[in-house]
Symmetry: C2
Subunit: 306 residues, 2 copies
């Protein structure tokens, strides 16, 4: 049994191609049944159906679920709690989360997926106990977030932590965000696959294919990871000198290939980090894997300050 | 009369070549007599002599000065309150500020000079009322700091805010900090003067001379400022995307030449900043000039949390 009291929340992680959800006991960080679906149809209908399946699977009285957090890859306006921008979930932009009906759940909150994943890693994962943490999540894009003195970095309008849009190569590729030379254009899974295609002429479905080729000894695949690793390392050094974190957590789908880029990333980061900021700095892969967003969304939904 | 109650602090700003000090009424942000000296001899003796001159000048009973803040260009260890690194004040590294005798002053604290200047600008200057602020101070070097949700960004060992050591050109010049391609090597007053010397073969004493040449129409001097401005603009964009500040304050000695680089800096920053983070963002020159460090040191010395 997951819990025997009423203190339960539900976390959703609404990606571009998947919807994940789980019941979470926030106090203990334990996770009940997990659902991992392909995203399809109306997102609100899918959330409601997923909610029903989860509470059925856990044989819960619905009234036991107090709050729900919905993590999305996008920007929130912290003054309103509304989504200001979400390229893969346009139908949620501007939507009042209070209008989302999930059984008898009292509170529904939107959260940024990278902030959620970071929060989960800080509470129950690779950054447990640290009060100054940076999280970088490398997948289709590059998301991120920072915890500063124990509090999530939010910013004046709630869009802080856009690590994927640090300017790493000012004259580099233009970015759909409107900027140029953003980290995301140089070091995301998409960028790794693009680099490999450009260098080899071979088609690959994504960074996962490039990782398979790299592990089979393909030097162009290895190079594509090393190149991304060095850009990530430069970003980590700037983050270390700016924020002086105790831990930098590197997660997201591409982090499963930590063996292919962790060493280069760390060496580049240490080369560019000031000695005082490097002292005691840990650069580690995320611990909670694909559930970090779900857990973090649930934790943030049940925290008083959001 | 500066004040008529006992709530007075003294701020010192110990630069590489100067020692500034003033009496400050923290509640009102008013400043009494100011001393601006060339730095010479033993720094502790100079602090004590400056203290006596200031209290004499204000005709104060020494007992009225409750606390003193000493701003230095260096890194503090926030766990101990000791200076961990200060290239221009080696004699203060590791010194217990409680052993510094200034009349009957009860509390003496060390603070980072850029953090102090930022705090002063936030309390009484160009960033008044803002809760998310970045400060960049361009002088001989490039210092910086950030206020996040109303609190100074400190970091896990107290060395956060090293904006001068953001990695802007990874293959660029090596930096005495141990890193490479740091903003300070590309956009400080020293870098501006170096660039001008390299391009013209003419000797200049510092960025102030280059500014004079630029105002007289010297295109190489103008270029040296524009080049630094673009590096600063890239850094500001990364800071905006990371921290989503409401205000970026640009101060320090070189900021007096805002007319020569403010426009290029702002245009470059806006080009690379995400629209949501750019919305409402103000990039402004500092308001308190050469007294920002002194005022900030005094304010931080008298604040309960330091």
């Amino acid at each position: 049994v997951l819990v025997d009291n009423g203190d339960l929340t539900i976390g959703f992680d609404v990606g571009g191609t998947s919807v994940r959800a789980a019941l979470v006991a926030p106090q203990r960080g334990t996770v009940g049944p997990v659902i991992d679906d392909v995203r399809e149809g109306d997102v609100l209908e899918q959330l409601a159906a997923t909610y029903t399946r989860l509470t059925d699977a856990a044989a819960l009285r619905p009234v036991q679920v107090l709050a729900a957090g919905v993590a999305i890859p996008g920007s929130l306006d912290r003054r309103t709690g509304l989504i200001a921008s979400a390229p893969t979930s346009l139908e949620l932009v501007g939507l009042d989360p209070g209008t989302i009906r999930l059984g008898t759940v009292g509170t529904v909150r939107f959260v940024n997926d990278a902030n959620a994943a970071l929060h989960a890693e800080q509470e129950h994962g690779a950054a447990r106990g640290a009060r100054d943490v940076v999280g970088i999540f490398v997948g289709t894009g590059v998301g991120g977030g920072a915890v500063v003195g124990g509090r999530l970095l939010i910013g004046s309008v709630g869009v802080a932590g856009e690590i994927g849009h640090m300017v790493i190569a000012p004259d580099g590729p233009c970015c759909p965000c409107g900027g140029q030379g953003c980290l995301e254009q140089l070091a995301s899974g998409t960028a790794i696959a693009r680099r490999y295609r450009q260098r080899t002429g071979r088609d690959v479905d994504g960074a996962r294919d490039v990782a398979l080729a790299a592990r089979a000894g393909d030097s162009c695949a290895i190079e594509a990871f090393h190149r991304a690793a060095r850009y990530l390392g430069v970003a980590v050094a700037t983050l270390a000198n700016l924020m002086n974190p105790e831990v930098v957590v590197v997660g997201g789908g591409v982090a499963a290939a930590w063996d292919l880029f962790g060493e280069d990333l760390t060496r580049t980061a240490m080369h560019h980090t000031m000695p005082l900021a490097a002292r005691g700095l840990r650069i580690v892969p995320a611990a909670l894997g694909r559930l970090s967003g779900v857990i973090g969304a649930a934790l943030l939904a049940s925290s008083p300050s959001g």
